[in-house]
């Protein structure tokens, strides 16, 4: 966390791109988000009690905020009991100011119900989270991408390694403290034999 405060000395931030992690600290859900309370939300809350921290709806899109420790059990429940058999996407959002820096977002879809639901869980940097690969095979590459871009470790993932960036790359680009002009100079020099890719 200390790292992120000091600006990258090699690269000046570009002028128009105001760092997005700037003054007003972003909130977990939008202010307009309403509490979400229907049969599904209730049954999940009843089943998992305090592990489900919140259930919200915004612009007609529903969302559970859950405890990171119980992510696999909640996802397993949603898949097997509530028929959310299709994992649309796994991604993360970086909030460097928060205590638990990363917010993981799982987007699920149910073919029988024809609805989507999001499951969100926050973890701190260096804190691992259980992989949902045993629940949905899709998660394999999606979690690898999250690992690649944010450096979040998934325990129980069959093959956690970088997917889009080269294997030896330093840093995780989608973190807010990774400037858009930064690159792994050392990697570029070693592998591409050029001074800089910029």
């Amino acid at each position: 966390m200390a790292e992120e405060k000091k600006p990258d000395p090699t690269v000046p931030p570009i002028a128009p791109a105001k760092p997005a992690a700037a003054p007003p600290p972003p909130k977990p859900a939008a202010p307009a988000a309403q509490p979400w309370d229907d049969e599904l939300a209730r049954s999940v809350r009843e089943r998992f009690g305090s592990a489900v921290k919140d259930s919200l709806t915004y612009l007609g899109q529903n969302c559970f905020v859950v405890d990171a420790a119980s992510i696999t059990s909640i996802c397993g429940y949603l898949k097997h009991e509530e028929e959310f058999n299709y994992l649309v996407d796994v991604t993360a959002v970086d909030y460097p100011k928060r205590e638990k820096r990363f917010e993981l977002v799982y987007i699920l879809y149910s073919f029988p119900r024809n609805t989507r639901v999001r499951v969100k869980a926050s973890i701190a940097e260096s804190e691992p989270i259980d992989s949902v690969t045993p629940v949905w095979q899709t998660a394999n590459w999606l979690e690898r991408e999250v690992y690649d871009m944010f450096g979040i470790r998934f325990t129980g993932h069959p093959d956690l390694k970088r997917i889009l960036l080269p294997d030896g790359w330093q840093g995780h680009p989608l973190r807010k403290d990774y400037s858009i002009l930064r690159q792994d100079e050392q990697w570029v020099q070693e592998n591409l034999h050029i001074e800089s890719g910029q």
């Binding site: 791109a17 959002v93 095979q137 899709t138 069959p158 989608l174």
Partner: protein, 378 residues
Amino acid sequence: MADDLKHTTAEATFLDASEIVLNMGPQHPATHGVLRVILKLDGEKIIGTECVVGYLHRGVEKIGENRTYVQFNPYVDRLDYVASVSNGLGYCEAVEKLLNVTAPPRAQTVRVILTELNRIASHLIWLGTHALDIGAMTPLFYTFNQREDILKIYENYCGARLTTHAFRIGGLQYDLYEGFEQQVKKFCDELPAKVDEYEWLLTTNRIWVARTQGVGILTAEEAIDLGVTGPMLRASGVKWDIRKALPYENYAEFDFDIPTGKNGDTYDRYLVRLEEMRQARRIIQQAVERIPDGPIMAKVPKVVKPPAGEVYHSIEAPKGELGYFIVSDGGLQPYRLRIRPPSFVNLQALDRMVRGSLVADVVAVIGTTDIVLGEVDR
């Protein structure tokens, strides 16, 4: 996947040392760009694969966090560059949703026409290259010829052929040009005969059937488990299309069918995509008959600054579910912009589809997956 690649048996003799690791790509005629597939072979039989992607990674999601909503719009054209109009539609709709506006009816209808034309164009490219992969070189030129007609419509409409940037947040920048309807109608009239011709060249060809039937089978359960979407999911027998399931734009007003397959093999995917071209034509024909008059732009502020919040919106792109997950902090730029690419997720099913088959099948299956590396790698 690495564990699967370790194929060693206790009684391996030197005669069994016939395993070859074949590095297919990133420069290879049949990997549709810079995909790299590492194949572990026993003779010609595949005992394991590993996909290496990312050669075309440009960090589009990071760029998105550093551009304003309007500035980022042209970037999405570069994802699936053979279906740039679809990408633009998905992005504009996601931002519109975040802004809580909808495009006016005229804009919506034009968007549907251009997007469906784009679906046909994308499928035409797929058909030509897929046939070329399997060794039939002639259909490629026929399909490219026909795609040219679509590109001419785009060129007339917005001046660009490939990366069109056709749509704007809130509607359209340009109104229709003189003769748009006639040109689109002419294209629609010519399409069925052409598609029939491709079918005539391929569908009944014994070699084509032998090369595609029973190759790269995905059952419905596997397809759902792997998150496969689009024509590949439908070929496995799941009748699911976002245009019907969660309609966007004014797709609900149009009458069209969702083609499905039975076996989930390469042949079924081929038939499903051909039928999708015909269905797309149906939509275009209906839409072009009733383009409403009226404004083409909704009331969107000059400076797009959505309220804080997050939204996921997806459309049925030619390749499958193309989703945008946008987190806004109320600023000028997206706080986080995630693109859910169909090709990337579909490509993950490659290993499942080719294991135990032959090298030639890998090429057929890569072709049938219909990947565009610009979208896989982003």
